[in-house]
Symmetry: D2
């Protein structure tokens, strides 16, 4: 592959539609991928936090990326979340995603246990030395061990395969610190922000793009904010940034993340199914209220609130057998077979 260049622009951390059995809804996922690409996102980012990667099995995580790689067919680059139970499993996932033609993988710092910076370094170093595919570090201190600036700097200097960082801290000063520490030596290293509410100031201090949940719902808006900021149209960008906060805050904070985003994607016309984390009565009420809030916001943006297409009837094998039998019987009765 020729030098694929720097990661740049808006990479969508897409949610995964589920069917009535709670399994991956492949046709809807394919439709969603097309819809996102059509609306201008620069790349796709499966198996991130918005994608609920921890709620899928290792096999499902692979299947999600395989479906998306197939559907994308090279139209946009894929940045695939590849964190597994340990380094060995993670590297195996890296190889698989490499074989699928993904542009790079994103690997979240170890979570559950809170690791010290030196062991976070050791973890990524071992991955960086053995991965067959480019790696983006994924810093999300609210959920996982933080990746500090000296660690990022050292990894960027020692591991050519580590080519970027996706930072979801939302700390603009920290972004400047990272850029200052890395860019002089690695000008092609990519800095992506996962914190939609500061996308504009992040880009203005030198960020290359974002992996923004909002782009999974309103790719038109996130993309426009990106374009305006890059073009230096700051007054207009400021307005869109404020609009995006008005969307992001209730979607993120009113319900346990990422339930609000599931509702929001559904409102753009996708059958998302029922999430895997059971929801309380209180939460279901919150989400119904959120729907109203988001409906009003979407309409204000001039965007349609779509009803998802009626779910395809779901039949169990027994029902299918019965239907087939009755049809066959009817046909036989009519002398057709």
């Amino acid at each position: 592959m020729a030098d694929p260049g720097k990661l740049r622009g808006i990479f969508t951390p897409n949610m995964v539609p589920l069917d009535a059995q709670g399994k991956i809804n492949e046709p809807e996922l394919r439709r969603y991928v097309d819809w996102l690409i059509d609306r201008g996102v620069h790349g796709l980012y499966p198996n991130g936090s918005t994608s609920e990667f921890t709620r899928f099995t290792p096999e499902e995580r692979r299947r999600i990326v395989a479906i998306m790689a197939d559907q994308t067919a090279g139209r946009v680059p894929i940045l695939a979340g590849a964190a597994e139970a340990n380094v060995r499993e993670t590297l195996a996932a890296c190889e698989y995603y490499h074989s699928l033609g993904c542009r790079a993988v994103a690997i979240v710092a170890p979570y559950y246990y809170k690791l010290s910076p030196d062991n976070v370094y050791a973890y990524f170093q071992e991955i960086g030395r053995n991965t067959p595919i480019d790696v983006t570090l994924y810093n999300i201190p609210m959920f996982a061990s933080p990746i500090d600036v000296p660690t990022i700097q050292r990894l960027s200097e020692e591991c050519e395969r580590i080519i970027g960082i996706k930072d979801s801290s939302g700390d603009v000063a920290q972004m400047i610190r990272m850029i200052e520490a890395v860019r002089p030596n690695r000008p092609e290293f990519s800095f992506l922000t996962g914190w939609d509410v500061v996308l504009m100031p992040m880009l203005l201090v030198g960020c290359d793009g974002g992996t923004n949940a909002s782009s999974g719902v309103v790719p038109e808006v996130t993309r426009r904010l990106y374009d305006l900021t890059i073009a230096g149209q700051l007054a207009e960008a400021r307005r869109i940034q404020a609009d995006l906060i008005e969307f992001f805050d209730p979607t993120l904070y009113s319900a346990d993340f990422p339930e609000g985003f599931r509702v929001a994607v559904q409102m753009r016309g996708f059958r998302m199914g029922v999430g895997r984390q059971p929801l309380s009565e209180r939460h279901r009420t919150i989400l119904r209220d959120l729907e109203k809030t988001l409906g009003a916001w979407l309409r204000k943006q001039g965007l349609d609130v779509a009803s998802p297409p009626a779910p395809l009837p779901t039949l169990d094998p027994e029902q299918i057998r019965a239907i087939v039998e009755s049809v066959v019987a009817e046909l036989q009765h009519r002398g057709a077979v």
Copy 2:
């Protein structure tokens, strides 16, 4: 099965020995299980945080419990960690551990995402309604979504299958609150503390036992603290509790958890292998220093510092083939075959 009674006493959250390839070292795990039972622990608790459950694959987690159940052969009850990626996978694990004859499972609150109390409730309710095996809630707010007192109370009232809580917060007042909220209605509900440094005061306020990492290293000491406290020999218990803190603090805090415990178990004579989380140079130095600290402490306790038996030579298949061939050749040469 007859009513197996309340969970009571010290349940050891055992680490898992690994071999030179980083795989589960089954013979050593069996030897370790015997050693623990011989030293008087009341039960075993695989797939907890000390057991590094998140660093094994779903298949490995099952295999660990299968080996231990087989080796234990009913001598002590097993409380098996059963948390998987989602409710469906968790319930499948519950069924499997049930089929192995485990006494109960322990299920940590959802982690990575921080859930609100009502959704923590919804999660455990769905499990509690469908599990074929008794369930112990596992509250460890430093790593996972906290399980608050109203949630525990409600689950204890609604789900008969939920029979206890393992609490690793170390908050003694919170333990009293939980006991007051649950015990009047569910006198057989079990309260276990996972915080070794307050085992004595926890037992004195009404706790039934502990799941204590120290018991995987010095089962003699943890068990003695339990016995003395239950017997009301408080002056002596106070001394042992202070001793245990002197062990626990450096083992827990000097290195990233649970690396210190791996070193400590090794010092009791077990081949633990190299952990799955890569360690930095700094960490390796810390662990060598910890070895000295723990050595001094063990000797002060009158306990031997054992060297683990030399690792069995590890041969790759190619080497084995070569050896066999040369032996066969030699035998042929001697006319023996």
Copy 3:
């Protein structure tokens, strides 16, 4: 003064009654002091957190202690909060409280700024070297810079005048650590817990007493818990400890601290006046609800819910002058003067 011995027992961190002008209500404070002593508290602790020391001026803090020292008249020891804006001012307060015959002062670690342990040490060292009166360290990590165990140990070894610590962290293991670090060298050093909800377990691990806000409301109950625990009557102590939690939790957590305690003291019959921190409508509602909760709890404890006596009429100087004049005129009229 002869060796006054170790600080031991329950020291009440008393709130300060205010009059209709928001000033210290001296007669009510004196009445409150008598009431507390009559109900068996072992000492008094003005100018602590419950006493809202930060909301009084330096002059008022001195006056509160002066009134209480005068009213106490040596019946029980006084531990006076002496923290002021800086070391020089704090030492001046120490001298003044010494001149009033206080048993010791309590000095909270520096707050607002978060100091590192070495500067917390430097701060107390300078005070410990220059104070004319015994000093108790005051550790309250939720409000002020924490005082860690090495700092306490070092100060206890270097400063004879530092004779104890009041710890409001509620961390029982930390209490054991402190006792282990200090008691071997300073057996008379005093350990007091400010966290009522673990008073029993704290005493059982070796604590000498408590500075407990509950003792300012229900000194009968706090004292009884202390006595039962010291006497080894653990089953009964456990019951009282649970009762105390039932009181403490809503009083502490439902409203901003220490507003709930003001309401609670008022319910024992004292005119507390209106606090100096303005309260929102929502907070006033919360406090009215709390009154009902506490009323039920007090009655369950067999304690009377007293109405505070009607406030004494407050007269401004002009009114007083007019009354005096009219009385004098009347007396003159009657030929009496």
Copy 4:
């Protein structure tokens, strides 16, 4: 006074030089004020966190502002920190600062106790209703109760006298939220950031200026960053912002705040004296190291590292008496008197 207009630009939170006795060094404070004004700061901000307001007595706080108001003589506006022990004392300070001709006061949210948002509102509402001078809210969640967006919005709508907010959270998204909530109704309301490391992005999202500790050390640099950003020279601003981070981070984080800034101001040629918080040996070493770091940074900026003028000899009265006597004796000896 005519409408003084919106607060805009860089307001310096100045440290206070102390003399050999640890008292306010008035001549040096006056010299510092002139130096700051000469270097272009738009206003002065005494009694803030950098100014160590909590370490001065109420009388000293007033004297600091009085000296500065006198020295400033109207050349730049003064924003005076006016938080005192309670609302009454705070309002008295407001009146005094009003009488001195200060432009406005800044009042930090209640600290020590952590207040809920509704009581933070109640506190500022009572001040806002009674103050004779314009008030700036001061939000610094790392040290004091946070002031949330609904509280700011409500206060801005209800209290005309509340004319701005100084926010030291450094949260750029929160700044956008505040501006969106307030500006439509109160276009003249001022938003100042106290977080130097994001001054540029804060200005780009709509902030009116800053109260930046760096401007007390390198007013040239802070002012230049402000001017470049306002002028839309973003590439150059980005460079200066990165430089400022290189200064700010070690000055803020290496030593307990604000000790690093004291050293830094001293390096610009001011006799700062010894701070009121006693420093450990370790801290003194840290500060000596910081001096080297800052020296290199200043030189890189083309700024001189000035030695503070030799301290004036400090003589105690006894020494002065002895000198006078010996001079008089000598003069007598010479027959001069």
